[in-house]
């Protein structure tokens, strides 16, 4: 378990009291089960209340927990026969993206996932889950291979963003991301994208152009991190908590905005409390999505994806009433 978050403290205190009471009962042989039951009921109610009404910022903090399951934690729980494939065949191999082939309930799939470290050492090795261009190019290489062999693609999104560094710029970070958006849109196999943790900007979208987008309850997905948004919009990175709310970044928000297809429930308190059970919940969601998409032909799969992205946007057109009608006469809210 990683360090507790401040809003979880009352729960941990109560858990502490319960175990103290249990120990006391064992040691002294006194039956206090009434009190114990009472405390356990209180704990259940408190957990339900705390985890059932988390703020966007609290969800962001759970999404970032070091012990939250990552792509490599889910792979053995969801798939068999995983064969990892390395390298973009152009420059190198990027450990911030894990890719390969495997079986999902006996059927072949291609897996692409962003991979952060589960401790400091691994985080350094995996560049904190921030991919370089070669990572996105490796992902594209394997997606095109999946297209060739008619295998569905399942991607796991979990990144603080594409790496903002000198080497990444030199090797064409922009082009690598853009190329993936371009090519993913045209794949003729089902692509299912699951946001399992953080989904920051182009670095997330670069493996996120799918037929269905799924999100865990305690994950976020937006054009920028809450800290980045606060720094850019209000010149104050300290206002990240406010930005997390204003930017509408949680799965609940994105479901309402019509950007994602499914919100995957999380085990109480977050995926890290029970990775096996969480994997089951993800498993059910992916099976459901694959079943829905398996009814479509290759052309229909592509067209469904193209239509999905074609439709995203919130704008208004006002019919021109006269020739030379000016835009400046519209009301400011565009209604």
């Amino acid at each position: 378990m990683g360090p507790e978050l401040d809003f979880e403290k009352p729960i941990l205190e109560l858990q502490g009291k319960i175990s103290e009471l249990k120990q006391f009962m064992d040691e002294k042989g006194i039956d206090l089960s009434d009190e114990l039951n009472h405390l356990q009921e209180r704990l259940a109610a408190l957990e339900k209340e705390t985890y059932g009404s988390m703020t966007p910022w609290e969800r962001v903090r759970i999404a970032r927990k070091l012990d939250r399951p990552t792509t490599l934690d889910y792979i053995p729980l969801l798939f068999t026969d995983f064969v990892e494939c390395h390298g973009d065949r152009l420059y190198g191999d990027d450990p911030a993206i894990v890719a390969g082939i495997a079986k999902f309930h006996g059927y072949p799939v291609t897996i692409i996932g962003e991979q952060r470290g589960r401790d400091t050492k691994e985080n350094i090795m995996r560049n904190f889950g921030s991919p370089h261009p070669e990572g996105y190019r490796k992902a594209l290489r394997l997606m095109k291979q999946a297209d060739k062999f008619h295998r569905p693609i399942i991607t796991f999104i979990d990144t603080k963003g594409a790496f903002p560094g000198k080497t990444a710029e030199e090797r064409g970070q922009s082009e690598a991301i853009a190329r993936n958006l371009f090519e993913m849109s045209w794949l003729s196999v089902p692509v299912i994208c699951v946001v399992i943790g953080e989904g920051a900007s182009g670095g997330a979208l670069a493996i996120g152009v799918g037929n269905q987008i799924l999100m865990l309850e305690n994950s976020w997905y937006s054009v920028i991190s809450p800290e980045g948004a606060a720094a850019l919009l209000w010149k104050d990175a300290g206002k990240a908590e406010e930005a997390a709310k204003t930017m509408k970044i949680t799965g609940f928000d994105l479901k309402k905005l019509g950007i994602i297809d499914k919100l995957i429930p999380e085990v109480l308190g977050g995926a890290h409390h029970d990775p096996e059970k969480q994997a089951q919940l993800i498993d059910h969601a992916i099976i459901e999505s694959l079943k829905e998409l398996s009814r479509l032909s290759a052309d229909q799969v592509r067209n469904q994806r193209l239509a999905k992205y074609r439709a995203v946007g919130n704008y208004d057109t006002v019919q021109e009433k006269q020739p030379n009608h000016s835009i400046f006469s519209y009301s400011s809210d565009g209604q």
Binding site: K166, Y309, E320
Partner: protein, 289 residues
Amino acid sequence: MKDFFTKKKKYATVPSAKARQDVPEGIVRKCPKCKKIMYVKELQKHLFVCQSCGYHYPIGAHDRAVMLFDQDSYVEFDKDMVSLNPLQFPNYMNKLESDRKKTKLNEAVWTGKGRIEGFECAVAIMDKGFRMGSMGSVVGEKITRMIEYADKNALPVLIFSASGGARMQEGVLSLMQMAKTSAALKAFSENAGLYISIMTHPTTGGVSASFASLGDYNFAEPGALIGFAGRRIIEQTIGEELPDDFQTAEFLLKHGQLDQVIPRSELRNVLRQVLSIHSEGGAEEWDRN
């Protein structure tokens, strides 16, 4: 390094009263690179390029359209499309309104069609004066519609990028415009459509990481800032100083990301060559002659 930025900023944004007097707004302009003062009328004649050092002043969509198209040959598309406020972002509508007044544009991109050296093209021109040229729903939709129009009418597509990236105030909807425009270009490309990308100052973030990088030909204006991440973020991340030409058009050319860096005065000529080559048949023509 910190000092370098604060000093520079101070120098650039707080001109003395005397300096302001020396450079009356609207009549003359001082080159930010070589400090030479030139009459605006003179600058206009030279396509807003400093005649002393070659600095390319950033220009708005209207000026660009005038210098790009054959005279009176262009029409605008989707003039009446306006942003809504999908996230109910505080103050967003007021900011759009004030930029509309400032730029006389309804959004950060002009789209339309017109003739360039006689060749009819579908064109998008971004304007950094409007919300830093950022891409929200309207920019994404207008560019997508322009590409679809070109696809239907077998026209080449030209996009002049000038953008800080995705628009923050429309959150994830802005992000999805990257996928929407890139998908439209892919469909267009599959129908053998020609797309020429011209990156101008600045082309960064979500715009450089989507349609701007996807040209059959990627060109840029001299000195244009082009990159994915902001320079300051990179310096903070890697903790080392970056070369002076970092993320300039010339830097990208050197690293294999561009076909050419083209001075504004030569652009129409290069476009004429490319459009002319693409207007002829290819290998199959040899059989017939």
